[in-house]
Symmetry: C2
Subunit: 342 residues, 2 copies
Amino acid sequence: MSMTPRSDHSPTDALAAVSEGLEIPAHKVPVPTTVSPEMQTIIGAPRRPASTLRPRTIEEWKSIVDASAVTAISALPGLCKRLRVKFETTRLDGVRAYSVTPEDIAPENRNRLLIHVHGGCYVLSPGEAGLPEAILMAGFGRFKVLSVDYRMPPEAYFPAALDDVVTAWKAASTIEDPRRMAVFGTSAGGALTLALILRAKQEGLALPACIAPGTPMSDVTKTGDTFYANELLDNVLVSRDGICDAATRFYANGNDLGDPLLSPVFGDLSGFPPAILTSGTRDLLLSNTVRVHRKLRQSGVEAVLHVYEGQSHAQYLANDAAPETREAFQEIAYFFDRHLER
Amino acid sequence: MSMTPRSDHSPTDALAAVSEGLEIPAHKVPVPTTVSPEMQTIIGAPRRPASTLRPRTIEEWKSIVDASAVTAISALPGLCKRLRVKFETTRLDGVRAYSVTPEDIAPENRNRLLIHVHGGCYVLSPGEAGLPEAILMAGFGRFKVLSVDYRMPPEAYFPAALDDVVTAWKAASTIEDPRRMAVFGTSAGGALTLALILRAKQEGLALPACIAPGTPMSDVTKTGDTFYANELLDNVLVSRDGICDAATRFYANGNDLGDPLLSPVFGDLSGFPPAILTSGTRDLLLSNTVRVHRKLRQSGVEAVLHVYEGQSHAQYLANDAAPETREAFQEIAYFFDRHLER
């Protein structure tokens, strides 16, 4: 399409206007009745208790990360059983990873391979705790998946996670033809997916046939309307000044948060592979998502957007029994099927 | 795609959950810096003064409709000049309409024809006041457009507006091949576009090649999350209990607001032509929009969604000089170009 390209507007574009704004009085937002009962339970849950923590020491971080990982890992056997998926550890040119395989790979997917980049604000979801999304994709989409267990603080800092994803991508793209490969991930995993493409372009690597960045942390400078509009409404991230921001700064380790490798919405998105983006109407990162969608379109890239009713950040991953979860992964699988060679 | 179809959840699905919800404290939402300066002005404008009125008499309605129409009509000469578009009155099997023609029809659009259905909550934007969107589409997309000036209260009540749109569609589809035709409209015009397809399916009429319902009033029962989440944040519609609701009830004239011909999200959307949907992150009808998107996808229909950063209801129509306006119409034109035969 022949759209007029325009730069993404930086925070300094209109300082005059920033002083204005709308006063919103206190009010109550009910649980929507327009979603499944399972999703109503997820949306109706209290704000995540840890969401507003700002850990200050490595010990504090470790305690939060470990507690959250224990919960995630304890759910894996049931998830794997219900979705008939198995996983095992592997290495991709030295980078830790998991091979995640459905019992029943779809015939059209036999020679296809997906690369998963987990989320968790660059600090959470180490090891097996990063696998739920890979299992959902393998199970609902009946694809083989390699999930990258990239290094995180305090083991290593920016750009270590991205370096690992790039290394894993290079290795994986020698296993399978990149035209039969897609990369996907949510939140920090969505940002890393976008940053991987920025790096792959820079380094002249082969690109995947398509990507699926879900509610990507595409702007960690906290610029974007829904950082304000959906504050305290998103019961997952809750606040732009919460634990996810603290974790990102922990990982960034003093580097500029506006660096496109940390905030890929500021990167050059031209030449990107086709992309499917996912978000929810309550998502604190809805603006992060639609801004990437718009910038991809402005850059002439095929990009589609799916926004789910009432969902906060990444809630399409929360419960494999919710019909909206199946729906989100089937949309992504459908998109992959249209773009991956067989 | 092979998604599991599921019914749209009705308001009675989970009454238990309705009593819960999130308390949002008073807060300020600044004007986003992530949109163009022109769009910042639109987003930064005060809430529309008339938005919370609930007129009770025909005289009160007439005064509001006339005042708003005078403003809209006074802007037409400048708009037509800038976009190099002309219009003249016509009739489609007796239904009042306008022929809206760009000076410079794109070569690929010579044999294509668009049908425009204006918005205005079924009461506002009579006559030429309904033309701005048709002019934007004709100008930015370089298409010929026929804009239907359907009957509204107090001249006639539900289903008169839809009857006129159906009559106009039948007449227009004898002028041009429906495979070279699309139907588009915003707000009530988006709902009428969807209701037209429901009626055309019922009556066995030819369908247009594609449709573009913009932020459709697809559920006027006020069900949907952003009716609550974006209340007072959307500076156009402002409230689910505002003038647009009053106007819709005036038009509905006692008929069930959940009738799919008034709330098309409750209709059977299978067999619909490909659709492009447009909304904004602050839109009171963002849920109305994404719910239609989801239901179309669940029904196996090709449907794409574009959500613009920070925009309230239908603000992609507000200023032809805003780059986001051009962008929205170029997206729709691009979609039409992919789906209309030449």
